[in-house]
Symmetry: C2
Subunit: 452 residues, 2 copies
């Protein structure tokens, strides 16, 4: 069995993404995140390695649960400062031809009418290489700045997200007929008004009567990604997701999640392989195992335990500053804390992990596993993850940038190509087509169903 | 007197901006607006001509007043389709070093918290070359898509805009102290939490307690442009505007507007030259007067009278389809219509203009004047406009793109340089510095007053 392995690069418009503190490594260039040249170099490197997609995470808030303040995030540069991901994409698109770009955007932060135009614009300018990671928002420190006291209840957020997507789909798929546009200069018209339709959306949360201001872009609907882990989130992903992001620490946990998602896809009437499931995974690759482990030890010198606790607190809503560093999860009261600690210590569930050990585990690679070794070793591991869990591929995160990207592209990719696990060239067409889909969203997709 | 003449290029992320129909001209490439290469070429051309700023207009709606439907706008490509301006800027910035970029964004369409981050991100990525044209929104066809039935009353919109700007200024100028960031790798911290402050904004329209997620960008506050013509708009511009856009058809009207703005600046306690006033002006330049007039006649073959009526209807809220094409303004009842027609026919106010004649006048260059001639002729005219009206310069709009930009850069600019009216090289520094301002907003600016 040689199922190809999908490979994304996973990053963020910030100094340090999932390995807090490593920005202090002498070779780390994360501080250049404000520099277009830096991102254009990254994009060129990734395209050289035939990476599918550069996926840019985003949150519109600061990690302020740890210690009840944003101080640790500010001090440690824990996904902070954090700039808008959208603006990076056009410049990176201008120096690449095939690399896809997925960006996170929460439905709670902008009205769907202008947002749909932003995405159409990006899809035009990238010639159809854009994906959207649909997020319902999860940092309270972001929500409060919108004048929202606390966030909408979790399930309610999904209801809003469903309608938000419906509005976007109508704008992208329903407003303009395929032959509305007739831009030949010989012709006298830009578009046929009889073929451009007001979407007349009247819903619970949004009223959008008008037409889409953007003409159809190459993909119309960008490739839809989702990262929901709750039951409602899995249902949402099973309905809309063409790619699903997960972050499982162990093969057992990943196999369980993939199985759950495939079942949810089937329940939603979709082919079980119609969503690519990608696990977050940090890789540290060098010529030899010994050299890779030496690098890992070197990175650890700069990785920040406090930064890890800051991330853990933000992700879980539990202030880890209030837990004893040497305590184990058996010491903690409350199911919430126990399940959190179990999740983050699942790499070796038989062992009794202290808070410190968990933080030291998380400080490189965050909530995903870390693979360290020669190209052969890491390729072996990635293959076994795919073959044993049915996952489709990986969101590869970086411990130190940009050297993680060159490690992946110059060492890991050739090894995977040799094994027939990674493409030697991109497929033609849009991002959706490169990922194996059609020119338009599949018939089972909710975006297809809004078409007239 | 050889006051330098400020020159912006005035465009829009659409097929055709202010000369509807000319997209059908065989040499017009406006249809390439979805192509990054097109915009990168435009940016390179403008920088070659030491143009100050590429100003990208925007509206979040369609011109649907004419005939009570968007049909004419859709058919004629009248500022339609219309993509998001923001996404063009990073790619254009990547191939230029000095050209400024100003984009229109309405305060009614996005919450100030994410918007401020978007602008900070652009200011970082352009290394301080971004301006923001603050608009309060004026197309009802846009507003209704936000679920707003009609727009907020005009003055109320300015109240919201004032508070929106206050929130942005606090995020840009107050949240981070100058020395908060200490990004040397030798240092162990990204930023000093004691020097990054929550803005704690509690206002009538917005509650924004948090910190700015972006570290200070080169300009912090982008250069603020405004285009208000009403009494309230002039007050707003006099408070916030570092550049003010106007569109006067005659020198007399322009002199009056400039004088009014200078008086308003004085009344606001600002130096009367502390805002650059720029008049919208379309130029058609060729080697000789005869050739320029031949070009103008050629452009007119493609210009659309219906497109002009569509723009006029959108700008005024009056459906010009209901007025007799041969009627003059003396025939029309109601002061609103009379004042509109007077404004657009002011190029020759002694004459009795019919609706048709006004539309034929507007179809090239929209609501601004058109100058046609050799470099000497057009430079003479621009000089006389500046010297007789006290205007600081021009937003030069294009009838046919990109040849308007090459006409300006290759013919007009050298002539103005010869006369000492146009710089032979850019000033160093940020856009604000290039325009004659300091490293930070001036002390009189409201953004300066929110600093701690």
């Amino acid at each position: 069995m040689t199922k190809p392995i999908a490979i994304n690069a996973f990053s963020m418009n910030t100094i340090s993404h999932l390995s807090p503190g490593t920005w202090r490594h002498p070779r780390d260039e994360g501080r250049r995140y404000v520099d277009l040249d830096y991102w254009m170099e990254v994009a060129r490197t990734l395209e050289r390695g035939k990476i599918d997609v550069l996926f840019l995470a985003d949150v519109l808030g600061v990690y302020d649960v740890y210690g009840g303040s944003p101080a640790a995030a500010i001090r440690g540069g824990v996904q902070f400062p954090l700039n808008d991901p959208l603006a990076l994409i056009p410049a990176m698109a201008s120096v690449t031809e095939h690399l896809g770009f997925a960006m996170t955007a929460a439905v709670s932060y902008e009205h769907p009418f202008p947002f749909a135009r932003r995405m159409s614009t990006l899809d035009h300018l990238t010639k159809g290489r854009v994906g959207w990671n649909v997020v319902t928002g999860y940092l309270n420190s972001g929500a409060v700045n919108f004048g929202v006291s606390g966030q909408e209840a979790h399930d309610r957020r999904y209801d809003i997200a469903e309608e938000y997507l419906e509005v976007c789909y109508k704008l992208w798929e329903r407003s303009w007929e395929d032959d509305a546009r007739s831009a030949d200069a010989a012709g006298d018209v830009v578009a046929d008004p009889a073929r451009v339709h007001p979407i007349a959306h009247r819903g619970e949360f949004f009223q959008v009567p008008g037409i889409h201001l953007s003409e159809p872009s190459p993909q119309r609907t960008p490739v839809i990604y989702q990262a929901g882990a709750s039951a409602r989130g899995v249902r949402f992903a099973a309905a809309h997701g063409e790619g699903v992001f997960v972050a499982a620490q162990t093969k057992a946990a990943l196999a369980r999640q993939v199985r759950g998602l495939r079942e949810a896809l089937a329940a939603a009437g979709r082919p079980t392989d119609s969503a690519k499931v990608l696990n977050q995974q940090t890789v540290i690759v060098a010529e030899t195992d010994a050299e890779a482990h030496r690098l890992f030890e070197e990175y650890l010198l700069y990785a920040s335990t406090e930064g890890a606790l800051t991330l853990l607190s933000g992700w879980t809503g539990i202030d880890f500053a209030e837990l004893g560093m040497e305590s184990t999860f058996e010491d903690q009261e409350g199911n919430a804390i126990q399940s959190v600690i179990q999740a983050f210590s699942s790499a070796d569930p038989g062992r009794s992990w202290s808070i410190r050990e968990i933080a030291e585990h998380v400080r490189i690679g965050g909530d995903g596993p870390v693979l360290v070794g020669s190209p052969t070793t890491v390729a072996d591991q990635l293959e076994s993850w795919v073959d044993e869990t049915d996952v489709d591929g990986f969101n590869l995160a970086a411990a130190v940038v940009p050297e993680a990207w060159t490690q992946i592209v110059d060492l890991l990719v050739p090894e995977l190509q040799k094994r027939g696990r990674h493409k030697v060239d991109y497929e033609p067409g849009t991002l959706r087509e490169k990922l194996g889909g059609g020119a338009r969203v599949a018939p089972w997709h909710p975006a297809a169903r809004v078409r007239i």
